[in-house]
């Protein structure tokens, strides 16, 4: 079921026509990177952003709903955390194999696995955030005549925001890294050039370095974006003594 390299696809270096660097198998060939940016690296990067974005997005929706539920019914917190931790222990390649009979060799299979892994990072952080809302603030909100919904939207969620962002940061960075494994199932994402290069007997390694560096860069960029978002959305968390 693992794919074969598709003929003389763009990833396999063309020794004959490649640059000198490529032909002589240098450690890293920037000429290869610029030559194959458009047909290999850029599409892989876009696919990778998609794989990660969808996984974290759906994971967020699930973990967020579960956290709200567990915030109202405390006893649910333990079991939900247990299940998400259990999911996380399943090796990704094994999980793909388990899912294929149900969802086939599809993006869905990959996403289900990636979503399952985000929960262990998102859910506990969300619950911690909600539980850390000061009792005084809740008491006063109630006394001022906030409805439950107003309390949630105007007090509880804003105060939980730093913890929510903290969970998202861990989840995004680790999902960017995990999503490279998708290439074992699908020709998608930054894992794919790496996967192909590993299968190749040639010592040419530029695509591994390039795709790896892009994954690291993507993770860093996403992380910085989240930090910036927190500064904008929760300015109070950065000022004063508290």
């Amino acid at each position: 079921m693992i794919l074969a390299a598709t003929g003389s696809g763009p990833v396999i270096p063309h020794y004959g026509t490649g640059s000198r660097c490529v032909v002589e198998n240098h450690a890293f060939c920037s000429s290869w990177v610029s030559a194959h940016w458009g047909d290999t690296l850029q599409p892989a990067l876009v696919q990778h952003v998609e794989l990660t974005g969808i996984a974290v997005g759906i994971g967020f929706a699930i973990a967020f709903s579960a956290a709200l539920l567990a915030y109202r019914r405390r006893w649910l917190s333990g079991p939900i955390e247990g299940i998400s931790a259990l999911l996380y222990t399943i090796p990704s390649l094994a999980l793909f194999q388990i899912l294929v009979p149900f969802t086939g060799i599809t993006t869905t299979t990959v996403e289900v696995a990636l979503v399952a892994y985000t929960l262990v990072m998102l859910f506990p952080n969300f619950v911690t955030g909600l539980n850390s809302v000061p009792a005084d603030a809740l008491d006063v909100a109630r006394a001022m005549g906030f409805t439950r919904r107003q309390t949630l939207l105007r007090v509880e969620l804003p105060l939980a925001l730093p913890a929510i962002v903290a969970g998202l940061r861990v989840a995004v960075v680790s999902t960017v890294s995990l999503a490279t494994v998708a290439a074992f199932l699908l020709p998608k994402g930054l894992g794919y050039p790496i996967f192909l290069a590993l299968k190749e007997p040639s010592p040419f390694r530029t695509e591994i370095y390039a795709a790896g560096a892009l994954a690291v860069g993507l993770a860093l960029a996403a992380d910085l974006l989240l930090v910036a978002a927190r500064r904008v959305l929760a300015p109070w968390a950065h000022r004063g003594v508290a």
């Binding site: 603030a137 006394a143 005549g145 409805t147 109070w236 003594v241 508290a242």
Partner: protein, 338 residues
Amino acid sequence: MTALAVFRRNSRRLGRSSGSPRGAEIRLESVSKHYAGAETAAVENLSLTIEAGELCVLVGPSGCGKTTTLRMINLLIAPDSGEIKIDGRSTRAASVTELRRGIGYVIQEGGLFPHMTVAGNIGTVPRLLGWSRGETRKRVSELLELVGLDRSLAERYPAELSGGQRQRVGLARALAGDPPLLLMDEPFNALDPVVRERLQDELLRLHRELAKTIVFVTHDVDEAIKLGDRIAILRQGGALAQFDSPDSILARPASDFVRQFVGENRALRRLALRRLDQIELAPSGKADAGLPTVPAAATVREAVSLMIETGTRALSVVGEDGEARGTIRFDDAAGLLK
């Protein structure tokens, strides 16, 4: 125009004075509360009428049910039995959010929302009531002035304020919707003595100016004596030990419990409740020339203390303008307590 006048005018204009502008009457009728698992009742069959515009202090040792009583007024705690009426209307009659939006609530350290600026905190109730942005902003600056805070603090977060400033913001926030009734739960406990005293004075000033009904909980009997028009002393189980003016409680403690709770030096503390400009002074005669002077704003207790210090039995009372207002004699001071 003064901050107070602006506050009043805008309160009227916005139609926010839902009850009487002079505060609401609160009537507790045989109210009881028993927490599940507790051996004794927190509050047992408590009946109490707090008059409109009165500053009533609930005081007592811990476990006397004073905070429970306060929190039953805005239904943060539901009474097991009995009835609480605000201006004759049962608190159960209206929706609980409506009820609470008409009652200001202040707790220790102000209980501010840490994620909102000072302006955001003070504007909370106006926003809930659906005021426009402009009206809310104007109201916030009025209130900052009313509680003696600089407008430059509006964009600060609570963590960037001192304890006393936070407490003032908490008070401003509670006043924002111009409620006829304020509930204050040990609001000044966390403050150092100097700031605490200043805020007590400010609260008295605001109470004089705004004439709201205030129910104030404390465990500090001196704070109760200083602030209260009347004091309700509660004992274990929420039983009312005495409900009277500070002077009457000091003069005639109703029981050994009250006597013990109120403490010593009752005569001197009663003298501290009277200022020289509030009592009748003997006219200054020729013989009084050369007496030590005391400002008219001082208390009788301070005057007596000065007599002991200076070894005289009379003092000349002078106003702020330096003019003699009369003479206070030791015997007259003692006679005040009859």
